[in-house]
């Protein structure tokens, strides 16, 4: 006869409610872990999407994400000729705000040269950019659909392809366009401003400027060696992919990451205390029954099994509810919630350990109960 199961069945409604409450709490913990992971993954997504080994940026900067960087557009040809570089591409990055669907839409515009590193990594719907101008590949999270038209700057662009999970570290969805369009968007002045500049005699300045040049290396080439070679040009700096990712996680999203990490830790501690309290209270409510069980001859292991099984059932069901909840609603979060199997498993193990420890407190109280307390009302 399984006493834990019988007790749960007898108080099913209460047990289910407790599990549901615990499930919601663990769901929040899972969501926070997912948001934390999402923040890191989002921060790295754009840096990883060109699939390159070296970033060439303006000297004395840690661009193009952590700091502003501007280098001449022809830098790409020079980089492509360095020994060990298999291909290179110019890239621009900028955040724009556009009108779409009656509302404002913040977009992270990435300009790249078709056929060279820096373009969209994977098209999930539609096609790559095929024309030199006015075509966009947008991330699905932007809400832009295939064929949609949107005004950016002074030109109308058509969405020809869709990507997914391509967002900037701030969460703004990415849109990809040709380098020429991006340069025009970033550097072309509005007509009145252009006329003023012309009058000042600086209107003819070249707008062939990019934020970075990315380089893909040959398999046997060393990123550090290529970076060292680039450093010889005093107006350029080179950052390896590894260093770029470090800059993003340690610098760009570090405060947000630590803030969410700390909050997640606190939430985990609160959850542990609540789980312990629920299980301890569940046991304390049964002390009279436990005394009776001991008096009629129940072995300690029978009582321990009842408490531990209930604690584990509570933890397991609560965790399953929390996990199911978050898996089903994570895509409705405005920013990415990344649930990795190992993170979920670690939380599961923590819940398991907390339940065991909490049931240990209950077991301790139960084993201390004097069977004589069952007598005398």
């Amino acid at each position: 006869m399984n006493l834990a199961y019988r007790d749960i069945r007898h108080n099913l409604f209460r047990f289910v409610l407790t599990c549901l409450g615990l499930g919601l709490l663990l769901g929040v913990v899972l969501a926070m872990i997912g948001i934390y992971k999402g923040l890191v993954v989002d921060a790295l997504t754009i840096a990883r999407s060109p699939d390159v080994n070296v970033w060439v940026v303006e000297a004395n900067t840690r661009g193009p994400f952590a700091e502003a960087s501007r280098i001449p557009g022809d830098t790409r040809e020079a980089i492509a000729r360095i020994a060990g570089v298999s291909s290179a591409g110019s890239i621009t990055y900028q955040t724009v705000e556009a009108e779409h669907g009656g509302g404002k839409l913040r977009l992270y515009v990435i300009g790249s040269e078709p056929g060279r590193p820096g373009g969209p990594p994977e098209i999930v719907d539609g096609r790559h950019i095929g024309r030199s101008h006015y075509e966009l590949v947008a991330d699905r999270s932007s809400g832009l659909s295939l064929g949609a038209r949107i005004r950016l700057g002074r030109n109308m662009f058509e969405v020809v392809g869709l990507t997914r999970h391509q967002v900037a570290s701030g969460g703004d969805p990415a849109v990809f366009m040709t380098l020429l369009d991006a340069q025009k968007l970033q550097f072309e002045l509005a007509p009145p401003a252009a006329r003023v500049q012309m009058a000042r005699g600086v209107g003819g300045a070249s707008r062939d400027t990019v934020n970075a040049v990315v380089a893909r290396l040959q398999p046997d080439a060393s990123a550090d060696a290529v970076a060292a070679a680039i450093h010889r040009w005093k107006h350029l700096a080179a950052i390896t992919q590894e260093a770029q990712e470090l800059i993003l996680t340690r610098s760009l999203v570090d405060r947000a990451r630590r803030q969410i990490g700390l909050f997640t830790t606190l939430l985990l501690i609160v959850s542990a205390v609540i789980i312990a309290l629920i299980i301890y209270t569940m046991t304390m409510e049964k002390l009279k029954q436990i005394a009776t069980l001991k008096l009629i001859g129940a072995a300690d292991r029978t009582i321990i099994a009842m408490i531990v099984q209930q604690a584990l059932a509570l933890g397991f069901i609560g965790f399953a509810i929390g996990a199911a909840l978050i898996v089903n609603i994570k895509d409705y979060f405005p920013r990415r919630v990344v649930l990795e199997v190992d993170n979920v498993m670690v939380l599961g193990l923590i819940v398991f350990a907390v339940c065991l420890i909490a049931s240990g407190l209950g077991v301790r109280a139960a084993l201390k109960v004097d069977p004589a307390t069952a007598l005398g009302g």
């Binding site: 006869m1 019988r6 069945r9 008096l295 009629i296 001859g297 004589a372 069952a374 007598l375």
Partner: protein, 243 residues
């Protein structure tokens, strides 16, 4: 000599003492108490609050360590010079003693049958046999029609009968009852006492009850009067009839 007393006692308590605390704070809950209870007897421990009757019941039930004395249960010497001779008192309780409580103390999440079957399963009986025996006992105590009822749905009398069935489950020959009729009205108290009498006679069990319930005094073969931890007197049914 009574017919029951022609058999060796099922419970023999010899000069049992129990004190709590030491020095100034010492309280003597039992002082050299000796009683014998024979098969088929239903006896009562009577006395005012603090007289030691519950302490004595706890010692006989092997749930309280006495300070001194000896005790035999069902022919086995289990206590000598205030020391238990067995380490497995839980098993001793399971094998030899049944308990009946004032408020029945049925496990609220088990139905009537499972409350009885539980004791059997704790003793190692398989589930099917335990259930069959539980049903048999419930029928015997005329509460078989309530076999599937949860304790909360049972009346006071029904719950106490299920509790008696539970106490009898492992066929113990010693049944200890703590105020078994205190929560019942006169009619139900009489029914419960009749059942205990039936059990004592048919199963040759010794039943020891702590009670304050005057309406059932005449149902006991003997009444042990305690005061301040001492056994003051022993009153038999024949004396009460004679009086």
């Amino acid at each position: 000599m009574d017919s029951a007393q022609s058999f060796p006692p099922l419970v023999r308590v010899e000069r049992v003492s129990k004190h709590f605390g030491e020095g100034e704070a010492r309280v003597d809950a039992l002082r050299d108490v000796s009683i014998d209870v024979h098969p088929g007897e239903v006896v009562a421990l009577l006395g005012p609050s603090g007289s030691g009757k519950t302490t004595l019941l706890n010692v006989i039930g092997c749930i309280l360590d006495p300070s001194d004395g000896a005790m035999e249960l069902d022919g086995e010497l289990v206590l000598e010079h205030g020391r238990w001779l067995r380490s497995d008192l839980r098993q001793l309780r399971l094998d030899k003693i049944g308990f009946i409580f004032q408020f029945h103390n049925l496990i609220p999440f088990l139905d009537a049958t499972d409350n009885v079957a539980l004791v059997l399963q704790l003793a190692g009986t398989d589930a099917q046999a335990a259930r069959a025996r539980a049903l048999e006992l419930l029928e015997y105590l005329e509460v078989g029609h309530r076999r599937n009822a949860m304790p909360a749905k049972l009346s006071g009398g029904e719950a106490q009968r299920v509790a008696i069935a539970r106490a009898l489950a492992n066929r113990p020959r010693i049944i200890l009852a703590d105020e078994p009729t205190a929560a019942l009205d006169s009619k139900r108290a009489g029914i419960v006492m009749d059942l205990l009498r039936k059990v004592a006679v048919e199963q040759q069990a010794a039943i020891i009850a702590v009670t304050h319930d005057e309406k059932i005094f005449d149902r006991f073969d003997r009444i042990f009067h305690l005061r301040d931890g001492r056994l003051l007197s022993e009153e038999s049914a024949s004396r009460r009839v004679g009086a």
